[in-house]
Symmetry: none
DNA sequence: AATGAATGAGTATTCATTCAT
DNA sequence: TATGAATGAATACTCATTCAT
C-alpha cells in the first residue's frame, strides 16, 4: 500500500529532457549551502531544492566535492564581478572611495546569502585545496580591482579592512551603520 | 580455526578511574575541530583523539552541540584572555599600539590552531544560536580591552581591522609580514 | 597473515533487482513483531528476517513507526477480512452464531501469530496515535460485520465477549475448548 | 566549567540513608510503565521518576527484569485485592452482580493507569515466563473470587466478558457507559 | 551501603555512491 | 540519457550493567 517511492511525498516530475538542469543544480547547491552550511549540503538536499531526482546528481557530477567546487566558483565570480564593476566605474580616487563604501554597505552587507556563502567558503577552503584555488583567485581579483585606484600596500590593507568590517558586522548583533563604515574607510585612507 | 584468544585481545586503556576526563575531552574536541573542521568533528573522532571509549562522550555531554559549545567557549576565553593581558599590561597609548601589533603578528597569526578555530567558530555561530552567545561575549570583551586605550569608535574600527588582517593572512598564500601589519595598524591610528 | 581473499567473501544475496521487496519487508516485520514483540522489532531484525541489507529498510520506510503502522494495518485488514467473510457467508442468525464460534475457535485462537499480533497492536496503539486509527477502523469493521445479523447493542457486546474469550484463552495455560467457547457465546445470545 | 555531573540538571540529593527506597522504586517503575510502556521503561527513567541516582537501581535490583517482575506483581496484587474485596462483601448473587458491574465501570475503567498496566502486563507476559506466573496467579484469583457466587463455568465466562468489556472500552473512542456495561453483564447472567 | 563514572553493544537514521533498467 | 533501487559505512545517541571509590 502506498506506492513504492518512499521519500518524495507526491510531485510527479515528468521532466526527462531538461537542458540547463546542471546549471540549476549549481544554483540549488548555493541555496542549500547558504541555508544549511556546507556540512548540511548533501546530494539529497540539493536534489530536493532543485526538484530533481536523486540519481540526477551523480549523473551530472562525479562527486559532491565537484558540486561544491562549481558552486563556490560561481559565487566567488559573482561577488568579484560586482567588485570589478563598482571600481572600474569610478573615475578618480574619491569616486573609488565612495565605491568601496557602497560595496561594503550595500553589496556585501546587503546580501545576507552572499555573506554567509563567503564565510562558508573560507572554512571549506581551509581543508579543501580545490577550494583554496577559488579563494585565492578571488582575493587576487579584488586586490587587482583596488589597485586601479590605490597603491599595492593600500590596496592590500583596504582589502583586509573591508573583510574585517563585513565579518564583524555579519557576526554582530549591532552591525555598523553605513556612516560608521564610511568613517572607518575614510579614516584609513585619509 | 585457531582458538579465540579469549583474554586481553587489545590490552589498551585500563583507565576506569579518570578524573579530569571531561576536561580532556573538551581539549580533544578543540584539536579535532582544528584538524577536521566542525563538520568532521564527531563523537568517535573526539573519543579517539582522547583515547577514550565512545560511550564516554555521551556520558559526559548531553549532545555533540554541548561539546562544541563548551569547546568554543574555552577557545574564545583563552584568546580573549591573551587579548586582555596584552592590553592591560600596556601603560600608555603607544604601548597599546605595540600590544595590538604583537597580538596580531604573534598571538593570533602565530597560533595556527587558534586561527582555524576562530574561523570555524564564526561559521558555526552563523547557524547555532548557542555559539552566537559565545562570539558576542568574545567580541564585547575584545572591544572592552581596546577601550582601555582608545575611544569607542576607534576601538570598534580597530577590532574590525584586526579581524580582517588576521583572516586575510590566514587565507592567503603569502600572509602579511609583521612590518606590513604594523604599517596597517599605525596608518589607521595615525 | 593469510591473504585477504578479495572476491566473494560471503557469497550471499546478489539481489540488486528485487521488486516486491517493500512488500516482503512488511511481512517480515509482522513475523518479527510476533516473535519478539514491538519492543524487540528493530530495523536490523526485520532486515535480517527478510535477508535484506539494513540500508534497505530506511530506503523503503521513512521511519520504524511507518513500518509498524503498515505492518499492523496489513494484519488488521487480514483479520477483518476473515471476519467479514465468515459473517457475510452466513445466511441466517443461527449460521451467524456458528460463524462466530468458528471465528473464535479456529481463526482467532488457531493462528498463534495473529493472536500475538493483535495483543501487540493493542498495546502499541495505547501510545501511538497512528496505530489507534488502525485499531479503531478494525473495531468498526468487526462491529459492522456483526451488525449484519445482530442489533447494534448485541453486536457490541458480542464483539467485547469475543475479545475477552480470545484474550483469556491466549493468556491462559488451559485455554477454553471449542465447546466452552460455544457455550459462552450461545449463553449470551440465548 | 560546569560540574562533572552531566545529566541531572541541578537537584542536590543528600539522601544517603533512605529505607523504603526499594519500595518507592517499585512504585516509580509502575508509573513509568504506565506512562511510557515496558519498552520505554529503563533504569534511568525509573531512577529519574523516583529522584534517585542511577547506581541505586542496580544496587537494589539485580536486573531490569527483576524490577518489572516486582512491579507487575504489585500491580496484579492490588487489582486482585479490589476484586476480592468487592466480591467478598457481596451477600448474595444479586449483590455479586452489582459488585461486578461496579468493578468494571468504576474500578477497572476508572483507573486509567491500572488499565494500561494490565495490558502492558499481558504483552510482557507473552515473552517473559516470570511474568506469566504473575498473570496466571492473578487470573486464578479473580476466578476464585467469582466462584464464591457463580458456578465454575459461569465464573470463567464472566471473567472473559469482563476482560473484553474493559479492553474494548479502553481502546475505543466511545467507551461503553455504565448502563451498557450493566446490560451486557446482566444479559449474560440472566 | 551507596553512587558517580565508565563502557560496549545496540538503536534509528543519513548518506555518497553504485547499479540495473 | 536518466533514474529508482539498492547498499554499506558512518553518525548521534541510549542503555543495562560493571566497577572503583
Amino acid at each position: 500500500m502506498s506506492g513504492p517511492t518512499p521519500r518524495s511525498p507526491v510531485p510527479r516530475r515528468p521532466r526527462r529532457h531538461d537542458p540547463g538542469r546542471r546549471d540549476r543544480l549549481i544554483d540549488a547547491a548555493l541555496t542549500v549551502i547558504a541555508e544549511r552550511g556546507v556540512a548540511g549540503t548533501t546530494h539529497r538536499e540539493i536534489a530536493r531544492a532543485a526538484d530533481v531526482p536523486l540519481g540526477s546528481m551523480t549523473y551530472h557530477f562525479a562527486s559532491l566535492d565537484e558540486v561544491l567546487a562549481e558552486a563556490f566558483t560561481r559565487h566567488a565570480d559573482s561577488v568579484a564581478r560586482v567588485f570589478d564593476e563598482r571600481l572600474s566605474a569610478a573615475r578618480d580616487r574619491d569616486a573609488a572611495i565612495e565605491a568601496v563604501i557602497t560595496l561594503v554597505s550595500d553589496d556585501l552587507l546587503g546580501a545576507r546569502q552572499d555573506l554567509v556563502l563567503s564565510v562558508e567558503l573560507y572554512v571549506a577552503a581551509a581543508r579543501n585545496p580545490a577550494l583554496r584555488t577559488v579563494t585565492q583567485a578571488w582575493m587576487a581579483r579584488s586586490r587587482q580591482a583596488l589597485e586601479r585606484h590605490f597603491d599595492a600596500t593600500t590596496a592590500r590593507e583596504l582589502d583586509a579592512l573591508i573583510e574585517g568590517l563585513v565579518l564583524h558586522s555579519a557576526l554582530s548583533t549591532d552591525p555598523m551603520t553605513p556612516e560608521q563604515i564610511r568613517h572607518a574607510i575614510c579614516r584609513h585612507l585619509r
